[in-house]
C-alpha cells in the first residue's frame, strides 16, 4: 500500500485555505500561506480550476472556491448539456448501426431517457425522451449500476421486478451480471424487459473517468443479437467508438 499522495494533500490544504476566509486569494498569498513554491501551487490551482473546484476572478486573477464544490452530491453534468454534447455522435451511431439510440442518466432509482435517435428506417416512431426505464432490466441501467453512477441500493429500493423470465430479478444474479459489465466495459439486455427486444449499452465518462451517463442501441432481438443470443460484435464496436468519442469531448482523458 502506497503512502499518501503529496499533491492531493496539498490540493486539500489549498481548498481548506480558500474555504477559511471570505476573501479571494492571489497565487502568491496561497503559495506563501502553505509554504509551497509558486509553480507547484499554480499547477494545483489550475487542476482544481479544471475540475471546477476553484474559480479564478477574471479581473484580479485571484482564486476562490468553485460552485461545483457546493453541489458535490448532485450530478455535475446537466442532462441537457449531455444531450447537446452527444447529439452528433448519437446520430452517427444510429446511421451506421441502423438501430435506435438512447442516452440515459439515473433519476430516483430509474433510468431517465435524456436523448433518443430514431432507427433510420423512417417507420413511425415516438420520441421517448423523458421516459423512465428500470435500472436492473435495461442495458443503460446496468451500465449506470456497474460503474457507480446509480447506487445499487436505489435499484433494490425500486424493486427487482421480473418483467420476463429472463429478467435478473435477484440481487445475486444482478451482482454477477454487473461484475461482468465492469469486466468487458459494456452491458447487454436480451429479452429481460420485454420478449423479442434486446439492447446494448456502454458508459459515457467525464473528467477523471467518472461515468456520467450511458449510451445504448436497442431493437428486435434478431437484429441486435446473432444466432447464439449474444450481441453482434460489430454493433458493440460501433457503440463503444461512439461512447469513447463522447467521453473524449466531455474531457475524459483515456477513453
Amino acid at each position: 500500500m502506497a503512502g499518501p499522495v503529496q499533491s492531493i494533500e496539498r490540493a486539500a490544504a489549498i481548498l481548506r485555505l480558500l474555504a477559511g476566509g471570505p476573501r479571494r486569494l492571489g497565487l502568491g498569498e496561497v503559495a506563501a500561506s502553505l509554504g509551497l513554491a509558486k509553480g507547484t501551487t499554480h499547477g494545483i490551482l489550475r487542476t482544481l480550476q479544471h475540475v471546477d473546484f476553484v474559480e479564478q476572478d477574471a479581473a484580479t486573477g485571484k482564486y476562490q472556491l468553485g460552485a461545483a464544490l457546493l453541489h458535490l452530491g448532485t450530478s455535475y453534468l446537466d442532462v441537457n448539456e449531455l444531450r447537446s454534447r452527444s447529439i452528433n455522435w448519437a446520430d452517427a451511431l444510429a446511421a451506421r448501426s441502423g438501430e435506435a439510440v438512447r442516452l440515459g442518466t439515473p433519476l430516483e432509482g430509474r433510468v431517465l431517457v435524456v436523448h433518443h435517435v430514431f432507427r433510420p428506417d423512417d417507420t413511425l416512431q415516438t420520441l421517448d425522451v423523458g421516459s423512465l426505464l428500470p435500472l436492473h432490466a435495461s442495458s443503460l441501467g446496468k451500465v449506470l449500476l456497474a460503474f457507480g453512477t446509480a447506487p445499487m441500493e436505489s435499484a433494490l429500493e425500486s424493486g427487482l421486478d421480473a418483467y420476463t423470465r429472463h429478467t435478473l430479478a435477484t440481487p445475486e444474479e444482478l451482482g454477477r451480471a454487473l461484475a461482468e459489465v465492469r469486466d468487458v466495459g459494456w452491458a447487454a439486455e436480451v429479452q429481460e424487459m420485454s420478449m423479442g427486444e434486446a439492447a446494448v449499452a456502454a458508459p459515457i465518462r467525464g473528467h477523471g473517468g467518472l461515468v456520467v451517463g450511458a449510451i445504448g442501441l436497442s431493437g428486435p432481438v434478431e437484429r441486435i443479437c446473432h444466432g447464439q443470443g449474444r450481441p453482434r460484435p460489430n454493433l458493440i464496436t460501433l457503440l463503444r467508438e461512439a461512447a469513447r468519442a463522447i467521453s473524449r469531448d466531455l474531457g475524459a482523458a483515456r477513453w
Binding site: 441537457n80 448539456e81 444531450r83 452517427a92 446511421a95 430514431f118 433510420p120 423512417d122 416512431q125
Partner: protein
C-alpha cells in the same frame, strides 16, 4: 480507383470545414479550421480572404487522410459559403485589395437609408426582389468605390475582380492568376442586389445604378454543373456545385418540392420555403431568393425569413444575465416551472426583422409580477424563438399557395427538446430533425454529387434522408391562440421605443 466520396467545403462565417460524404450521405471525415474575425471599427466585420484560402489548402488533405482516401477517390467537390461577404482582388496578382467585408458588417447603413428614400424599395424589388439592406454585396462595392481612391477606375479598367467566398475559392482552386475560373452560382448571385431574379443574369439597370462595371463580376452559372477541374489542392477533381449556405441547408434537407421548408436554428435562424419555379413576391416581409438551379433546368425559388435573435438570446441569458452557465441549461431551468407564468420576452435587440421589419423596436420583457422566477424567464426565452418562427411561417403561408405541412429543422438549438416541442405546438405541424445535422455541408455534397453523376437523381437523395427525431403538436388550440395573442401584444409594446435623434 472507384469514386467513393464527395467532398464538401463549407466556408462559413466562423470557420471553414471540409467533410467527406459517402453514397448514403453519411459523414466519413471532418476537418475544420477557424479563421480570425476582424472588428476594425464598431459595426465593421472583416475576414482575411487569403487566410481562408490557406485554411482550405490545409484542410482538404486532412479530411482525405482521416478517411484514408486519395484524391482519386473523390468524385466531385461542392462548395457552400457564407452569403453576401464581399471580396475584391487584383486580377493579375491574385491578391485581395483589402480584407473581405462580412455579411454582418453594417458600414453601409446610411447608404441603405438613402436608397430607401431614393429610388425607393420598389425599384429594387422589381428587379432583384431584395429591399436595400446592409447584407447585400452591391452596397459594399459602392461603398468601396466611394471610399478607396482610384478603385472605381481600376475596376472599370478590368484590373479588379469581385466575388463572394465561393467565387474567390473556385478562382483559386482552378488556377488563380493562371486561368482561374471567375464564376458564381445563381443562389449567391441572388444575394448581391445585382442579379435579375427572373433572368438570372446581371441586371443592366442595377449595374448602372450602383456603378458596378460588368467586367469585375463573375459569370453566373447554375448551382450544380461541372464548372471545371481543380488545379491545386485536389488536382483533376471536378468542382461541380456552389450554393449559399442557407440554400445548401434547404438542399441538404431535401426540400425539393414546393411547400417544403427548413429552419436552421443557430445564433440567428433562417427559414426557407421552396416555392418551386415560380417567383413568389412576398407581400408579408419575406425575401425572394433562388433556392437552387440544377444544370440547365429551370431555377427553383424560395421565400426566406430570417430571425435575427434566437440562439443569441440564450447566449445573452447566459453571458449577460449569468442565470445559466451553459446554453443547454436553459432547458433545465425552463423545466423547473410548468409554463411562462404570464411572462414574454421580445428580443428586438436591434429592431424586429422578418416579417415585421421595424428598426424602431427594442427588446421588452412584459408580464412581470412578483411570481416570476428565473425559470419563467427561461421559458420566455425559448418561447420567443417559437413565436418568431410562427410569425415567419404565418407570413409564408399568406404569401404562398401551399400551407406548410411540416418543418424540417437543423442547427444547434435542435438539441433543445422543450424548444422543438414548443415549435411544433405553436406551428401546429410536426417538426422533424434529420439524422445528419450538417445539412449545409450535405447540401453542397448532394448538389456536387448530383452534377457528377455520383447520385442519379433527387429521389435517391430523398431516400438518404432519415428522421432522427420528430415532435408532434400537442397543445390545446384555445391555449395556442391565447398565447399567440399575448405574444403579439408583447410585440406591440416593443414597437416605437427608439426615436429619431432630436425628438422630445
Amino acid at each position: 480507383m472507384v469514386a467513393r466520396y464527395v467532398l464538401s467545403i463549407d466556408q462559413g462565417t466562423n470557420s471553414t470545414r471540409c467533410i467527406l460524404f459517402d453514397h448514403h450521405g453519411r459523414m466519413v471525415s471532418v476537418a475544420q479550421r477557424v479563421h480570425q474575425q476582424h472588428f476594425p471599427r464598431p459595426g465593421w466585420v472583416e475576414h482575411d480572404a487569403v487566410e481562408i484560402w490557406r485554411n482550405l489548402q490545409r484542410l482538404v488533405p486532412v479530411a482525405l487522410s482521416d478517411a484514408g482516401a486519395g484524391a482519386d477517390e473523390v468524385a466531385a467537390v461542392g462548395i457552400a459559403n457564407q452569403r453576401e461577404t464581399t471580396v475584391l482582388w487584383d486580377r493579375r496578382t491574385g491578391v485581395p485589395l483589402d480584407r473581405a467585408i462580412v455579411w454582418q458588417d453594417t458600414r453601409t447603413a446610411s447608404l441603405v437609408d438613402d436608397l430607401r428614400q431614393r429610388p425607393g424599395e420598389e425599384f429594387f424589388l422589381e428587379r432583384c426582389s431584395l429591399p436595400p439592406s446592409t447584407y447585400f454585396s452591391a452596397l459594399r462595392i459602392r461603398w468601396l468605390f466611394d471610399h478607396v481612391s482610384g478603385l472605381e477606375q481600376r475596376a472599370k479598367d478590368g484590373e479588379v475582380l469581385f466575388g463572394t467566398m465561393e467565387s474567390w475559392l473556385i478562382w483559386n482552386l482552378t488556377g488563380g492568376v493562371n486561368g482561374g475560373l471567375h464564376i458564381t452560382d445563381a443562389t449567391n448571385a441572388s444575394r448581391t442586389m445585382l442579379m435579375n431574379i427572373r433572368t438570372l443574369t446581371w441586371d443592366e439597370e442595377l449595374l448602372a445604378f450602383f456603378g458596378v462595371p460588368r467586367t469585375m463580376l463573375p459569370e453566373i452559372r447554375s448551382s450544380a454543373e461541372r464548372y471545371g477541374e481543380a488545379r491545386s489542392v485536389l488536382p483533376g477533381v471536378g468542382i461541380t456545385a456552389a450554393l449559399g449556405d442557407q440554400q445548401a441547408a434547404l438542399f441538404g434537407q431535401t426540400c425539393f418540392s414546393p411547400g417544403e421548408a427548413k429552419c436552421t436554428y443557430g445564433t440567428g435562424s433562417f427559414l426557407l420555403l421552396n416555392t418551386g419555379t415560380d417567383v413568389v413576391r412576398s407581400r408579408h416581409g419575406l425575401l425572394t431568393t433562388v433556392a437552387y438551379q440544377i444544370g440547365d433546368r429551370p431555377p427553383v425559388y424560395a421565400l426566406e425569413g430570417s430571425i435575427a435573435v434566437t440562439g443569441s438570446l440564450v447566449q445573452w441569458f447566459r453571458d449577460r444575465l449569468g442565470l445559466i452557465s451553459s446554453a443547454p441549461e436553459i432547458e433545465t431551468l425552463a423545466l423547473t416551472v410548468e409554463d411562462n407564468g404570464g411572462c414574454y420576452i421580445v428580443p428586438a435587440f436591434s429592431g424586429l426583422f422578418a416579417p415585421r421589419w421595424r428598426s424602431d423596436a427594442r427588446g421588452v420583457i412584459v408580464g412581470l409580477t412578483s411570481y416570476i422566477t428565473k425559470g419563467h424567464l427561461a421559458r420566455a426565452v425559448l418561447e420567443a424563438t417559437g413565436w418568431q418562427t410562427r410569425e415567419v411561417v404565418d407570413a409564408m403561408n399568406a404569401d404562398s399557395s401551399v400551407a406548410l405541412k411540416q418543418l424540417k429543422v437543423d442547427g444547434g438549438m435542435t438539441a433543445d427538446n422543450l424548444l422543438m416541442q414548443f415549435v411544433a405546438d405553436v406551428l401546429d405541424v410536426p417538426v422533424v430533425r434529420p439524422m445528419v445535422a450538417e445539412t449545409v455541408s450535405l447540401g453542397a455534397a448532394y448538389a456536387a454529387g448530383l452534377a457528377a453523376g455520383y447520385w442519379p437523381d433527387l429521389e435517391v437523395l430523398r431516400r438518404n434522408w432519415h428522421r432522427a427525431a420528430q415532435w408532434m403538436p400537442d397543445m390545446d388550440p384555445g391555449r395556442r391562440e391565447a398565447e399567440y395573442d399575448n405574444w403579439q401584444r408583447a410585440v406591440e409594446r416593443s414597437l416605437g421605443w427608439m426615436r429619431p435623434p432630436g425628438s422630445p
